[in-house]
Symmetry: C2
Subunit: 357 residues, 2 copies
């Protein structure tokens, strides 16, 4: 049995961090005899530079056929002036939507070794372990109509549409309820049902689903309150489920509570459990090419990929254990550096994980 993994390094620090993750995946591929085949493709700004398109059809075809995808990051100031349809982000959004990767899982975990990196007080965040389940192929990100039109009198008006159907809400709801079942049985659905009609429907469907999951305790929270509660007392949360836009905001906020967003992986899955895996952080163009980026979020995304899309739990755990070990050894890239630790480069961090495997 051979399975294929498509590597999409993308832009900024993407190529550097994906290179380290690839070494790690190659090693567990041998160690555990996984039969993985790796190939590489173009996406984002890198693809624009070579082909003029953020998501070349060749990349999309190979992505559809792959068993899983590991993505670095896309975007950067170089492409910021391009019209919306031709920007690097469209490569990412195109993959999500064409592969129907509707379920985005974003854990926000505080590594005990990195507790001091958080800007929050230790007692507020120690032991933090939240899972954010974000809907990824609907909502205002993809809603039609959208654009800029001219009003009577000649002034322009920009518009987007925030839209969810029952079935879209139901399928992401199920993923979230199931995640809560496997964790501590608490699910908080975040909406703005006191103002937005689309989220009134969201809340109704979540309440409906709750009947099928009597072992999960469902609560609802307005998005403004959720943004507050994440700062005030983040450990009150187990699983959070929300739409695409709110999920974008809250998952980044939650990730930053840990102080080490360079450590956080993510998974985007479709209903066949085919998935795209990527670090929570972005392309960080300001430090690209310097060899100082933290490859651990990408390496841990590789572990998530083994677990969720390839069913290789043991290999996933081996990678996670190796990452924990290098942290125990006191090795730190610049972003998570603290007094008394040893600062290492992107490559040195990758090699240390390899050695720990």
């Amino acid at each position: 049995m051979s399975r294929s993994v498509l590597m999409l390094p993308g832009d900024g620090i993407g190529p550097e961090i994906v290179a380290e993750a690839e070494k790690v995946l190659n090693k567990v591929n041998d160690q555990f005899d996984l039969g993985l085949q790796f190939e590489t493709g173009l996406v984002g700004g890198a693809a624009i530079d070579e082909t003029g398109e953020p998501l070349p059809s060749d990349t999309l075809e190979r992505a559809k056929k792959a068993d899983a995808i590991l993505l670095g990051a896309v975007g950067g100031p170089k492409w910021d002036k391009l019209e919306m349809a031709k920007r690097p982000e469209k490569g990412l959004l195109g993959l999500r939507s064409n592969l129907e990767l509707f379920a985005n899982l974003r854990p926000a975990i505080l590594y005990p070794q990195l507790a001091s990196a958080s800007s929050l007080k230790p007692e507020v965040v120690s032991g933090l372990d939240i899972m954010i389940v974000r809907e990824l192929t609907g909502g205002i990100y993809f809603g039609q109509p959208r654009g800029v039109r001219e009003l009577e009198g000649g002034e322009r008006q920009g518009f987007n549409t925030y839209v969810y159907s029952e079935s879209e809400i139901r399928r992401i709801g199920r993923v979230a309820f199931e995640a809560a079942q496997q964790r501590n049985g608490k699910l908080c659905s975040v909406d703005k049902a006191n103002v937005l009609e689309v989220t009134v429907l969201w809340r109704e469907i979540m309440n409906d689903l709750a009947k099928e999951y009597p072992d999960v305790e469902l609560s609802h929270m307005y998005v403004d309150n959720a943004a507050m509660q994440l700062v005030r007392a983040p450990k009150q949360f187990d699983v959070i489920v929300t739409g695409n836009m709110f999920g974008d905001i809250l998952s980044d906020e939650a990730a930053m509570l840990t102080g080490s967003i360079g450590m956080l992986p993510s998974a985007s899955l479709n209903s066949e459990k085919q998935g795209m895996y990527e670090p929570c952080h972005g392309s960080a163009p300001d430090i690209a090419g310097q060899g100082i980026a933290n490859p651990l979020a990408t390496i841990l995304s590789g572990a998530m990929m083994l677990r969720y899309s390839l069913g290789e739990e043991k290999a996933a755990e081996a990678i996670e254990a190796a990452v924990s070990k290098v942290l125990d050894q006191g090795l730190r890239t610049a972003d998570i550096m603290s007094e008394g630790a040893k600062q290492v480069s992107t490559r040195e961090m990758g090699e240390a994980v390899l050695a720990a495997l």
Copy 2:
């Protein structure tokens, strides 16, 4: 010269905290001979209970004629089951939109006396002083079309419209640039211009306006990054300007960084500087009627009202000084209580401010 102030206590803790603010305003009215006339009206759940409407026409007419409005808070579980158009929140939204109160100013200030209340490390938040300028009468809060429709095949779809015209963006932009001029000259405009067309227009207009304010340094940030940066290093911000929905989320997040949202006032202004003033916190139905709510945010909203809508800077400063004094005296309501301080009730806190005046 007589000027009228409409007091709208609203729901939950609203009546308790507005009562204290009214005493304080009455006192400075005498002390500084301001010639203010106070009247009281119904809004929100309280209005629904009496009249069936969250914003009775009588309240709206008097609000339009008033020189300024002081609002407590609206909403609570009692009215959560009502259809959207009949909910307490519609009272608040109706006032904002009918009076064209497009400019919402939400300061996030850390009171040195309350530094330990924050969940963030002292060095991250000490001296924090951010002003969030939120657009309040447009965006997805008011965009049409909106509702729930039936799709082919019978399933329902919820939808809302996120919309801004050039002139709406321009007028809130001007308020923000002017606020930055009066502060530290830094303005950060928050959008999601890599995904949402409406915010591409937003960014364009902000860039355009920047030419008229060469003394203000304008930057742009995506909303997900802003949610992160507020947690990571909030002191990087001076003034933030953003749309209605993002402003709702980010202003609550920023307020919570201080740990003492019970201290934060807000102003909502129209182009004639007529304004509605309210605490940043909500109606807190869980503690309503217990006499333990913190009245200081409402009292400080009264000070903002004197400053922005009534041009009474001295009286405003007197109130602010009195609040600072009671904090120095170690008086604290339950929400900001800490070891060694003296816990007081809502009324005791109000009386202490009166005494300090």
